[in-house]
Symmetry: none
Subunit: 199 residues, 4 copies
């Protein structure tokens, strides 16, 4: 019965993804220690045991979530963006629009940003050091844009990496607002860009 087998695998994949997706949000909101498997499974709408069919442990589930949060498809777009033959200011605008747009539309994106930045921030046992590739790449691409902007005199002087950090820090900030606050005023693209742009 090859067909039923495929279908079976499909269903498994589906459930696994549901768990990952919902857990991503749950962990982003409550943290690792603040997340109980009993609450999480209730939130997902499955039995506690089901989580252990797909994941070895709470720890492994969390690591899988971090991997996902890390394997962001934005990187490809960033790569294209960086190499485009336009001004850094324009690149920054496109990046900022893309980021704020997704932040608004997609809670999962906010959760990914939140977990990723916390991973960087806390850099403790909970987050393996290998998982920072994505962040590094993202930061490196942004670094290039800001460096270009500094040469073009459109962006403020000083340590480029500090500015990168600042820019994404603010994105993290509004990811948190997106995740926790029901009613809040989202930052504008202009606001975000002032982190690095000259007046």
């Amino acid at each position: 019965m090859p067909k039923s087998k495929e279908r079976c695998k499909e269903i498994r994949e589906e459930m696994r993804n549901t768990i990952l997706q919902k857990s991503l949000l749950y962990f982003a909101r409550n943290g690792f220690a603040g997340t109980k498997i009993s609450d999480l499974s209730k939130n997902i709408g499955i039995g506690q045991g089901t989580i252990y069919v797909y994941f070895e442990s709470k720890e492994e589930l969390f690591q899988e979530i971090l991997k996902i949060a890390n394997s962001n498809e934005m990187l490809k777009k960033m790569k294209l963006l960086v190499n485009m033959p336009v001004s850094a200011k324009k690149k920054l605008r496109m990046l900022s629009e893309m980021v704020l747009n997704r932040l608004e539309k997609d809670e999962t994106f906010a959760a990914m940003i939140a977990l990723n930045t916390q991973m960087l921030l806390e850099k403790n046992e909970a987050y393996s050091s290998e998982e920072t590739t994505y962040q590094t790449k993202l930061y490196n691409y942004t670094f290039k844009i800001i460096e270009q902007g500094q040469k073009e005199k459109s962006m403020v002087d000083g340590s480029s990496m500090k500015l990168v950090d600042y820019y994404w820090g603010v994105v993290y900030l509004y990811s948190l607002k997106r995740l926790f606050t029901s009613e809040y005023e989202m930052i504008s693209v202009d606001d975000l860009e002032r982190t690095v742009l000259k007046g």
Copy 2:
């Protein structure tokens, strides 16, 4: 023979403060769920039971810490600042210098900012709604400065409260960096002020 009553009270007050001070940092770094009483007491350098001599429960200890984080002496300085007969730009400069300076020198201040902002952000059962007075006042004072700045055309247009939120959001961000990251580049006063200042 009993210890002299005054000395006894003094010692009690001292120990209580030590616990509060150290716990403030510990909770700010690890969160409520992530803080084990056993680890905390080890970190403070006292027995587990000692914490329960001074506080009813982990929960009560946390609430006391939130109260402290909330009763910041910065408010008085802010009040003076707001009413000074100088430009909003100058007021902002003085505020920013004061804030970043304390952030750098005083880890406890960073912890207070961090807990306070999380309290605002998460606004859930863990944080009682009454505790937000400080934040509200702080935000209101900043609101006045920014409003003045907008009239003086030195600060960007748009919702003043959003800008207040943005400004303190960035302060929160660097409080987290101060708490979690051992080596990092602190934001400059100029960087911080770009959140609200026109170029």
Copy 3:
């Protein structure tokens, strides 16, 4: 696939009853403070955690046990007995035979009597005052029998309620013997009845 809902509920009810039944004996023998959850669960033959699946706390478990000890089916028999058209002496005989018989055969009955009487006796925070209905009814029925006996001159004069208290006090006494002493001489029906009967 989940267990069939009914079977599941059935099993839950069964376990709950096992815990209640065994705990009744354990608490009756060791008292509230003298009962450790670890020992109790070992005695029942389950894990410590299992108790907390069915009861909120040691306190709640104890209160549930008191409720059970209070909702004795003997009351119905008593009601019938009281209204029978026979002499008080005969009623007393039937009551005493029933009580001593059950005491001998059923340890659980002894535990129920013991807890109930202690509840009456200690009347402190541990035992809610609402729980004394059963005792009151039981005492009231007995009161009627003794009153009748006093009219019929078969029972000793004096405060009927004092005699009721005395009668059930002796039952309590032999409930304790049943619970604590492995080898002892059970009181006879004649002995028990001498508490209230004229020679």
Copy 4:
């Protein structure tokens, strides 16, 4: 300074007795497990540490209390009573009057009876088996009286020891009432004697 030394010893003895006396009541009411040193010392009106100046441990304090409860001066009176050249009925009357009288006047006596009987009843690790001498003697003296009464046909037939047990059981019962209940009707001498007396 011999005088001050004596005085010192005197004071020590006094404090020790206060602790024993108050603890006797406290333990009788709350049981061993139900008695916290913190509560007990508060009840006595001394510091927790003071108890450990006079006793090795909670356990030792309890054992000392049991010894006191056991070394009752009533035994001497009983010895005299038993050997008096009067009827068993009269002896019983004198015993019962003495016992109920003391029960009413002296709470400590009630506590002693209560602890003693529990010791007999529970016969577990908490109560060393050597401590039952007093009880045994008391029972033996009573046994002689009842045996005499049975010969004299004034007391009911059957196992004399069972009757002894019954008689003192009822005394225990009213010791509990004395200890726990603020308002209650004390049993009369007649009531008490019906346990063993023929009509």
